[in-house]
């Protein structure tokens, strides 16, 4: 009888231990909560905490996905694209080559030779026409035109930026050859009126594979600084 009593008493002892453990754990957590928060809202706050933690894990996984995408993004490609746009890298591709030089016509006495030589504004307008027709890169006498390039006239020579040009002027433009050619040869257009009518030498050839060097001028910003983009769309 005595042994039988003992055996179940051990069981009760075990259960008492379990209960004590549970109660103490509960009280520990409860006291910790009470030390920081008003009791009445604990359950709601616990719910909020749970939700926030779920959202946190969701956002964390989102962040890691985005980081991975960022790493995947080819930064070098973007840099190359910008360099191409800025003219800092040599380019090649199909396009047209224009050769322009002074008229070879024997002038009569009454004719003013001024009209029969190439002027800087003709060159500039021609380049403008090419840009407008969708040229992606243009070089004049193997000098790449950058974003700040301008033509000017210094006495009898034409300057592009600070570089002297001498005839024949060879203008190479990368772009859709047919488009560029058609744009230039448009009836009543700039070429017909300003170049062909003065008997200037003007040759257009289509080239399958043009090579245009990088812009060699200086790029410096002494006055301009990058500003924040306004609006933004």
């Amino acid at each position: 009888m005595r042994i039988k009593v003992r055996s179940w008493q051990w069981g009760i002892g075990l259960i008492a231990a379990l209960l004590g453990l549970l109660i103490v754990l509960q009280l520990r957590t409860e006291f910790k909560i009470r030390a920081k928060l008003p009791t009445r809202q604990v359950n709601e706050l616990a719910q909020i905490l749970k939700n926030q933690q779920m959202r946190l894990t969701k956002y964390e996984s989102e962040i890691s996905t985005l980081r991975r995408q960022l790493n995947d993004y080819d930064r070098d490609r973007e840099i190359l694209r910008l360099k191409m746009a800025a003219g800092l890298t040599p380019l090649e591709g199909p396009g047209i080559r224009i050769t322009l030089s002074d008229s070879e016509k024997k002038l009569k006495e009454y004719e003013d030779p001024v009209f029969y030589i190439v002027h800087y504004d003709q060159l500039e307008l021609l380049v403008n026409e090419l840009w407008a027709a969708g040229a992606e890169a243009i070089a004049v006498n193997n000098y790449r035109l950058g974003s700040t390039t301008g033509f000017s006239c210094a006495g009898t020579t034409i300057l592009v930026d600070t570089r002297r040009l001498a005839p024949p002027y060879i203008i190479e433009a990368i772009g859709d050859p047919a488009n560029l050619k058609n744009a230039l040869l448009m009836p009543g257009g700039f070429v017909e009126q300003q170049i062909l009518s003065f008997n200037l030498k003007f040759i257009i050839e289509t080239v399958d594979r043009l090579r245009i060097p990088a812009y060699k001028g200086s790029i410096s910003f002494d006055h301009a600084t990058a500003a924040k983009e306004e609006g933004g769309n």
Binding site: L14, A16, L18, L19, G20, I23, V24, R28
Partner: protein
């Protein structure tokens, strides 16, 4: 009577020294579980006083009550029903009932014991 007390003390000591705590979001359910466990223990004491104690019944009531109470409260929360309140009410009522019955029984025993001693003295 000594073994349960020693067991409780051991449990408390372990509980005080455990490195982890119940997560805040689960505290509600463990509270109900503790209430159920207390109820089971008081029920056991009462049964023993009434000479009806069955160890297997006691064990099953302890674990089943505890687990079911916590689980039901959790389910209630999931469904948006405050079973929590119902469980607290039910277990509290049973707890007080058991307590009063135990007190009555002990009181009776005390009187019987005392009157017996008095008879001896006389």
């Amino acid at each position: 009577m000594l073994i349960p007390i020693i067991g409780a003390l051991i449990g408390i000591l372990i509980g005080l020294n455990l490195p982890f705590e119940i997560p805040v979001s689960l505290v509600k359910y463990t509270a109900i579980a503790i209430l159920a466990a207390l109820d089971a223990i008081l029920g056991g004491i009462r049964a023993q006083l009434g000479q009806k104690f069955l160890f297997s019944k006691f064990i099953s009531s302890f674990f089943a009550n505890t687990a079911l109470a916590a689980l039901l409260c959790y389910l209630g929360d999931m469904m948006g029903v405050d079973i929590y309140i119902g469980a607290v009410a039910a277990f509290s009522i049973r707890l007080f009932q058991n307590l009063s019955l135990i007190r009555e029984e002990l009181f009776d025993r005390f009187w019987i014991w005392r009157s017996g001693r008095r008879e001896k003295d006389m």
